[in-house]
Symmetry: D2
Subunit: 482 residues, 4 copies
């Protein structure tokens, strides 16, 4: 079977039969729901790019696992060059959709599980890696989307899993059976969850002896019994329900965040990739973090490209694109955006071969990448707001355009540089609003802070990976200290 | 008649009979409309504070103009101390409402007109100042809200008013009559417009010879014939229509932005405060800017207080308030917020007496104040997002709480530190969301950039006011240059 | 006796007979030593300004203590207005000298002791305040300079005074006698010490029970037996010894830092202002910090004025003063500099009357002021470096101008805009170098970080003073939390 | 002949017989002069590293040009991997020496000339590339240092070369002869010049028709007749003359900046690589800039390593290395430093093959790299200053340690954490001072701003290279604009 097109992907998802709770109501036709369809279209774009002539080479790669050409989003990266291609692919998708396209977390989780299970098996004689290879080859052949599920609710953050008032606040094994385990818990912030065919669950952090029940990693189809989806809200989300007006900002694409509940869900033995080996949780988590933090140097840069393009466009429409301060602000936006890209590329360029035959991103630089992502998009958004003007926060609704009294007023008074259609200008402003203070800001700002872990998580890793003792030793030698 | 209470203010507004186009529909009962009522409540708070024992002294002042005690929001400030009181009052209101309370622009415009008309009369023998005093004493006695209207649509920003394809893109006098003038045009970004009884229209910028028709300043009741209001959209605005759920973020208060069209509106002679004297436009505009830019060192600081308080609260609810990095981030938020306050205070402390008997804010420091306001709230918002966590962008809707399946899941899995009600936690998160990526961000972020003029406007003034030649001369002397 | 002139001050200092260890040698004629004379001239400028017609009013004030007109540098400030005058005076001095003029720490220490001793006496029945008034009235009448001495060496910073291997690492009373005490220890970073007639010693931090020996505050003439001065090095300090070449950067003025050792020094009873009352140390220290941190919003702003002026001048000399990016950078420098000034003014404007009849700077805003001072000068210096050009780091020495071969080359190839003397251009570049990477950077950069306490000290105070609980309570009310 | 050792390099340089004007005096034994020897040792380190087992592989590479193993500092890079190796090599050298090691500009200039001359020859039928290959193969075989010379004095920066009052303010051909040309002019800011055997001169900027005389590129031995060197000053430079005291900061290594005058120097035909082809100047200059701006992502990062190591060490010596704010500051320093490294690596990873068989750094990312270098070192230096403490600006001189009175005081009162030698602590402080406000700051701060072109030069390139039109087109498509 060849790689799916976007349309085939959407069909496959429709056939998958997921149900979710959306805005307080149970919804069965998820692909048909106007709140959700933009996020499906964003995922579908990752499929179509593998068929588009211009991007086909970037999105396809031969996988030794499935022994066939696969979509790079399901690939186990094997070299620094392939990690670089990943970053380029992600940037392309961000620039195409102007939003989070939701297919990275699963890719990054799979790579982490692939490499780490190999090492567990080697050290423990388990067969997790074999199981994962089987599981993943299926995903590759079926060209499916997998959601990476990591973040537990965590309850009182000052307490360990076993100290919580409710033990379920960290997902855990509540029963071990001969043919599998029963798990209970929840995962928050699941990007793209109800657009996915498969789930990969990982522990949320390093674990210690005594916390074995929480040390569980597994794969599961999203339509498995006992899995519940509660669709999250985003700023201005209901504009997607307002019909085809331009107020939605991004007219085609959007993101998706879900809270996923595992209410005593059975996981068969063959899908379990970690089960109680607490000492490997840290490695698994850090590796996922490294892959995923590096990814942010691609996807957010692509969204940044859209915001920069829109800002340059509105400047031209307003007749100020030649003003030196406007040019300077746009250069600054580019500079910040490309710095993020550079960090993603560099973490790839220093990628290291793993025992499993994969390639992992440089841990230090991947964290540096993500820490910059927690900062620069805010400054880019601020500059976009500056250049775009106050209409971002005050513009009349699209509906007012249809009104016989107000429509003509709006067309008359929002006219700008010669030759610019007022409605086009409004569209560009709404797209910028979407990214700086609307639905798109969830991915571009909030997720930039918290996705793949919050800033402090990166700082801790940076502190650990920096080789501070070696730097001090070097100074001691230079100064010939006693 | 004593000062109005909030309720009396709302009643007076209802009686005023305004109509506006809201989300594509003509609305007559504005105070009763759920999109608009939060913004009325915010204005009402500025009335109630003049009755509240704790704040009465700060909000009341005796005006020589009306010869009675007035609400400070209608006061012509007479000393640095009174300008300091203004900043404190604005900070209080921001902290009380957590939003833009919409009564500053009118106050600041009135002070600018008051002082500048005196000087025009003195130099030109006009009687603008007398007219304005009469007009304003009425406003004070009736304890009314006036909206300051400045920003013209401006069309192609690379062109002067007379060069625009449509001359109406800058508001202008289209006919001069014996008893007044007819004006045509629009004003954008009108904060609190349909909450106001009166309008003060000012020119949008310095003007030159040949641009006399655009050099017009006047007062007018908001219910004057020919004035049309088109209500602007804000991020997540329709959450206000969703009933009493907590998703609205700020459960009581909100802001308002309006596009106001003047479709051949008659302005009687007695209400005209400038009419063609182009050479005074710059002074009027700069003075308004100085008052208004200084105001931002109060109101936004108050909103910052709310965001800081909410951030500290969510940290405690999450059990991380003792973590050193969290404390450090909150200290940083405070530091930035207080720096803004310091700038507002300093512009007051160096206030200068005017010939009219008023006191004007220091022009340089008022611009410095506002330029900082265009920056720090973004960093404060970023830090709030960091501390608050990813739920800001992924939390299920309030409605899901009522569902028998999802409600219990949410209550179970969003539990945090002991003793914290899940719904309380959700409320705090929604308030933060409101300010960083929702309706509140229009005032806290977008308006912080563009209100009272965009950053570049402040930079130009700072460059002009800095006394650069004197600094160079000082260096020349120190170095004994030839 | 009237207020001293600069010359009279220098004469008085010469007569004072101090000796210091300078660059490894004992020096007796301090005013005549070329490393030291620039710092004396800077102090002398604070005297001359009290005679200069243009600044006389700002530098003179009637002191109730001495019941006569005094130099404001010896004044006990009595109102917010006087604190504002202090900031203006300090900015003037910084702008005049382009360096630290070394007379603030004593002024600020005196104000802290003045106000705090009053409260100790009231609560403890001691007579410290009376003693201090007597001491200080003498200083005022003799128009002397007092050095404020606070920073103890502190040894291992993770340990309390009594836990140090050497108890003397915090200055302490080693013997109590009927007529006074013997103290031992050292004070570091003493700005202007060997330019001073008097010393005011304060404890370095809050102290606890059991640390009474370290809780000592006193006044002493600098020429008291047992006091030793070790002159500190500064970057490029020996350029002052190179003759009258322009490489020194600042041709007239400079700063001074000293390590002061108290080797069993006797302090008579009448000069002791605190002796074991550990519970007042925190208040004394915080108060001094507040006065001194507010001062930084004046002095460093003045030095910033010089750096901005020099940068504007070199831009003009290079022919780039019209380039938009250069203008923009200079505006940014001004903006940052004025923000510091605003913070200093605001801490004054919210000054509070003390029981002793003084006025203390707002503790929160004074700390905010200083925290900004630990940041902005670095950015100002970076921008100055950017505009000035690479010659800052590569320019030939002044001596090369005299060489018959190289002199003409330098004059030929360092020519810039028409009409600019090469030597003038070199002078301006050397002045900038002095401030960004030379002797002046000690005061403008390093001292901006550490003077009046390092950033973390300010952060702790900001955290404490911010009223965080009140902000949270406000949010609870707004959200009607359970 | 094998690759030189550091000692052999110094010997070769001594034999080269250069003379320079140093501090106003003609100096013939440059390697023996204490102001200059530290900079020779830094260059020598780049030689020794090619022999050190630990770094040999990184510093050696087989050159097709010379058909032998060469020091990578003389290599024409042939692939992204080799550009990555370059960055790693430069970081290593920076970390070893703690200063600018002065061998990059020549390497980067050579690569630019190598690639560009190939294209000129192809388009113009010239033989510049052949000449350059011959020249450079000699340099490689002799393992020599070449200085890249680019920056002309430029006089009045608002004028073109031909508009200057003195035409020599841009280096130019003053006479064309059958066997070569005579050039006149100067080059400023020549890093490592009098440590070099060869000079490569490039034009300073893009040139136009009519400016052919300035479009000249050539190679020349540094000891050619008519070339004059004027040694530049650095902050605190004369501490190198003070003997073996620790005040010098960096006890072994240092940098060097020179003004080089070409007083009618003859350049033989075989050494001319560009002669009047103005249309290639831009390409040559941009290419050099790209190589050199990428290099800054290596060398400055290495110096940053030293500063970070020294900061961590002084924190430990002071007993504060466990304080959370100190750890946080050090993490921030690392983060910024690694971001610079990431940019250098990324510009390499996206390197492109050139027609000449070389590989050029990505132009956009190389400029992004350098623009970050103009910023982050200042923040790193500020944080280092913060952690290190006020002694950076106030510490007594090393000489005072020998004094029988002050020596014991210093040893007593500068004691810190247990087991720390006071002199060791002083050495670390002096090293930090060296980098933040001393001789080292010339390379770490000033050169970080101006080396390889000032920030505005990078901004212009970033604006040009960003593909802004393509970004706008993408937005147009997404929004289906009319």
């Amino acid at each position: 079977m060849g790689l799916k097109t976007g349309r085939e992907y959407i069909d496959s998802l429709r056939a998958w039969g997921l149900e979710a709770q959306v805005m307080g109501q149970a919804v069965r036709d998820l692909p048909g729901h106007p709140l959700i369809s933009p996020s499906l279209r964003a995922v579908a774009a990752t499929y179509d790019c593998a068929h588009d002539e211009a991007t086909r080479a970037l999105f396809r790669v031969v996988s030794p696992l499935a022994d066939q050409e696969v979509n790079r989003f399901t690939h186990m990266h094997g070299s620094p060059e392939e990690l670089i291609s990943k970053v380029k692919m992600l940037r392309h998708c961000g620039g195409l959709t102007g939003c989070c396209f939701q297919r990275c977390a699963g890719m990054d989780a799979a790579n982490a599980v692939f490499n780490t299970t190999f090492e567990i098996d080697r050290e423990r004689g388990t067969e997790y890696h074999r199981r994962f290879r089987d599981f993943w080859a299926q995903v590759q052949r079926a060209d499916q989307v997998a959601a990476g599920c990591m973040t537990d609710p965590k309850g009182d953050r000052s307490k360990r899993p076993t100290e919580q008032a409710d033990l379920d606040l960290f997902l855990r094994v509540v029963e071990r059976k001969s043919d599998g385990v029963i798990v209970r818990g929840a995962k928050l912030h699941q990007t793209g969850m109800v657009n996915s065919h498969q789930i990969i669950v990982l522990p949320t952090m390093s674990l210690r002896q005594g916390e074995e029940d929480f040390a569980v990693c597994f794969g599961l189809p999203t339509n498995a019994p006992g899995v519940h989806f509660i669709y999250g809200r985003q700023a201005s989300d209901t504009r997607k329900l307002e019909g085809d007006g331009l107020d939605v900002g991004n007219p085609v694409f959007g993101g998706q965040e879900v809270m996923t509940v595992f209410d005593d869900v059975f996981v068969p033995q063959e899908r379990i990739f970690l089960n109680g080996e607490v000492e490997f949780c840290g490695r698994l988590v850090e590796r996922f973090a490294a892959y995923h933090r590096q990814s942010y140097g691609g996807c957010k840069v692509g969204v940044g490209d859209v915001l920069i393009g829109a800002t340059a466009l509105i400047a031209r429409m307003n007749g100020v694109d030649r003003a030196s301060h406007v040019r300077d602000k746009i250069v600054e936006m580019i500079h910040l955006n490309e710095t993020l890209f550079a960090c993603g590329l560099a973490a790839a360029a220093l990628g290291r071969a793993t025992p499993a035959g994969g390639c992992e991103a440089d841990l230090l630089l991947a964290n540096v990448c993500k820490l910059n992502v927690t900062r620069f998009p805010y400054e880019i958004a601020r500059l976009a707001t500056d250049v775009a003007g106050g209409l971002l926060g005050t513009m009349p609704p699209a509906r007012a355009l249809d009104d016989p009294v107000t429509g003509p007023y709006i067309r008359k008074y929002l006219a700008a540089a010669e030759g610019v259609e007022v409605v086009d200008r409004m569209k560009v402003l709404r797209l910028i609003e979407n990214l700086v203070a609307g639905a798109g800001s969830v991915a571009y700002l909030i997720e930039s802070v918290h996705g793949a872990g919050p800033p402090q998580a990166q700082r801790i890793m940076i502190g650990r990976q920096a080789g501070l003792e070696a730097k001090m030793a070097r100074v001691r030698r230079l100064l010939k200290l006693s």
